[in-house]
Amino acid sequence: MATVYNLFIINKSGGLIFYKDYGSAERMDTNDSLRLASLWHSMHAISQQLSPTIGCFGIELLQADNFDLHCFQSLTGTKFFVVCEPGAQHMEGLLKVIYELYTDFVLKNPFYEMEMPIRCELFDLHLSQAVQKERVFILGR
């Protein structure tokens, strides 16, 4: 089972620009989601400092008791992370798909201001479709 519980997108300064809940027990309120996003941004940076070898790009996977968190950082510093069920497969692929959707529907949108919260309908639509497809793909097997 590869249920995605929620998705966060953080800009390069650590501010939350997108948060969508797909099925957690209780939807987080806005302030908490902002705090968690900044917290993640800092911890991602600290984890690079603690690396024993050079060339660390930060946390890519966090495994907790009740969920897994997969994080993808683009070359520009924008971070995409999904909270999903423990042991979920194909999350890296899903994150890449989300990144493509972001570049297509957010960055190419002439009215979108960089680093600002994302308010693009087409992005939301295609995102829900991608998450649904992921769910169906896993259940269909």
């Binding site: 209780e26 600290i46 603690l50 024993p52 060339g55 907790a64 008791d65």
Partner: protein, 194 residues
């Protein structure tokens, strides 16, 4: 909390045998560092085997590590999608309260974490492709209990000191399939206070 679960083979005998069927994925020199912290943030033991990059001095590094783990605990407790009432971010959490994590990985390392009910935190930093090390950490915790806590001379909350002779022995034993398991076991099994 799954702390007291696990195989009965990891017993409380004075010389515990290595847990069966563990970590055949660990071959060669896989571990980079080991940290043991108590609940107040005092680093009881720090061991490094392979660490080409050191960004900070030892004290700062240990504080940073502890701080990161502490914040990650708050983060996972709040982020938990399966629980309804999560409390507030920033409230100090007791061991076992709320959802906790057991490992995270980056492209260069994997950090495995275990917290005992008494607040003793064991951290192992290894190669990123390492498997699940929870059993090994639990085993190490048992060794800590046997050889450190039960030692009447040991002062709780102080750093664990290793005898110099044993360290030399540890360097010599570097062959075999589960080399890293042996190394850690040797170093911990021969733990005595100077």
């Amino acid at each position: 909390m799954q702390f007291f679960g696990g195989s009965a083979a990891i017993g409380i005998t004075p010389s515990p045998a290595a847990p069966p069927g563990t970590a055949t994925s660990l071959s060669g020199n896989n571990a980079n560092m080991l940290y043991i912290f108590n609940r107040n943030g005092v680093c009881l033991l720090y061991r490094e085997w392979h660490r080409p990059l050191r960004t900070l001095d030892a004290q700062q590094d240990q504080k940073l590590m502890f701080g990161l783990l502490f914040s990650l605990r708050s983060f996972t407790a709040k982020m938990d999608p399966t629980s309804v009432d999560k409390g507030n971010l920033g409230v100090p959490l007791l061991p076992g309260q709320g959802c906790s994590y057991h490992s995270f990985q980056t492209n260069t390392y994997k950090l495995s974490f275990m917290e005992s009910p008494s607040g003793i935190k064991l951290i192992l930093v290894t190669h990123p492709k390492t498997g699940d090390l929870r059993d090994s950490l639990r085993y190490m915790y048992n060794l800590y209990v046997e050889y450190v806590v039960k030692n009447p001379i040991y002062v709780p909350g102080s750093a664990i000191k290793l005898n110099k002779g044993q360290l030399h022995q540890f360097h010599v034993q570097s062959y075999g399939k589960s080399v890293i398991k042996e190394r850690l076991v040797n170093i911990l099994v021969q733990m005595q206070l100077s």
